[in-house]
Subunit: 207 residues, 2 copies
């Protein structure tokens, strides 16, 4: 089973690496990181580079497509090489998935029209501009299209996906392997839960 | 504030990238990935490479040291270049931290003697062989040494660390930014919670 993860300039690494770390335990998985050109791809603020081992032209089919988001996603909403490749992958994939603003790339590729979907809480308007209906859930399954909310939600999505690709016991074994027994020290992970001071600080520092 | 993250052959990417994605939001942070030699470093099963932008010899001090784990960690418990560098960093760091079996590297470097510490649930014996007392908690602060449990626990540790490095509101703002409102679809993230079938499968498939 081939799982393809596209990378692009200014992606968010945890969007890709969270689900990668779950899916790599699938017994018959082969995971490939892909970019317009093979080689290192930088995040923001350029302290981290992940290597794309293949170029878009090298990969013409996959079983699972997993599109991460990041600040760079919004700059690629009319990028033909990436969007054309996403559309081609969607023709062969059993599951087309996104994390965070990766959903905007699925939307820009025309794959979310008429579907319920989720995204990072700060990207709802853009998501809906592509004809999707925003659903404030952490993971949204819509037939073969799966979207996850912001950044860290990709871990939850990947575990749910493993249960469908394989079975629940395999997903539970992987959850145990990565000791995913989350205990956040604070309860501020969504706009509904975060204190106003945290929301104000985020807006001021990272508008 | 310089945060240094060492990489080594067969590391676990989420151990490093989870906390990285939190700490990179710190207003005055500068994060550098380091390895014995600069260049790409591969995980298991070699599908993912992160770039080390510096060699150990290039970095002679840091404010925060964050040591990831992974299958490769156990092969490095007498690796002089890595352990010597960890000891040198610990002399200057305000916080010396580990995720998963990164704690074994801190232990092998002699930094955990007489301290309480945590690690991946499957590495408790090795941890204690270095003179540490295993504490079955997700994050253990012991003066300036902080250890986290398996893989995904690094996110929890990093948020707790931000609250000490800066303040609680900053940690909450970052938690909101990465939408860390975990909703695992199953409740199998620790040996105490995982069904026996999942434990058996993990043992059989990934002994």
């Amino acid at each position: 089973m081939r799982i393809a993860i596209p990378l692009f300039d200014r992606f968010t690494a945890l969007d890709a690496v969270g689900p990668y770390e779950v899916l790599k335990f699938l017994p018959d998985a082969e995971i490939v990181f892909v970019a317009e050109q093979a080689g290192p791809v930088r995040d923001v603020p350029k302290w981290l580079a992940l290597t794309a081992d293949a170029a878009f032209d090298d990969i013409d089919a996959c079983d699972v497509l997993l599109v991460p988001g990041g600040p760079g996603a919004r700059a690629l909403l009319d990028d033909r090489p990436l969007l054309d490749w996403i559309r081609r992958m969607h023709e062969t994939s059993a599951w087309t998935t996104s994390v965070c603003t990766g959903s905007l790339l699925l939307g820009a590729a025309g794959l979310l029209k008429g579907l319920s979907a989720t995204t990072h809480w700060g990207a709802v308007d853009v998501l809906e501009s592509f004809g999707a209906t925003y659903t404030p859930e952490r993971v949204v399954f819509q037939s073969e299209v799966v979207t996850a909310a912001g950044v860290s939600s990709g871990i939850d999505m990947a575990l749910a996906l493993v249960a469908r690709l394989k079975d629940r016991t395999t997903a539970e074994a992987i959850q145990l392997a990565i000791e995913y027994d989350p205990q956040p020290p604070f309860d501020a992970g969504s706009p509904a839960k975060a204190p106003q001071a945290a929301k104000d600080l985020l807006k001021r520092k990272f508008p």
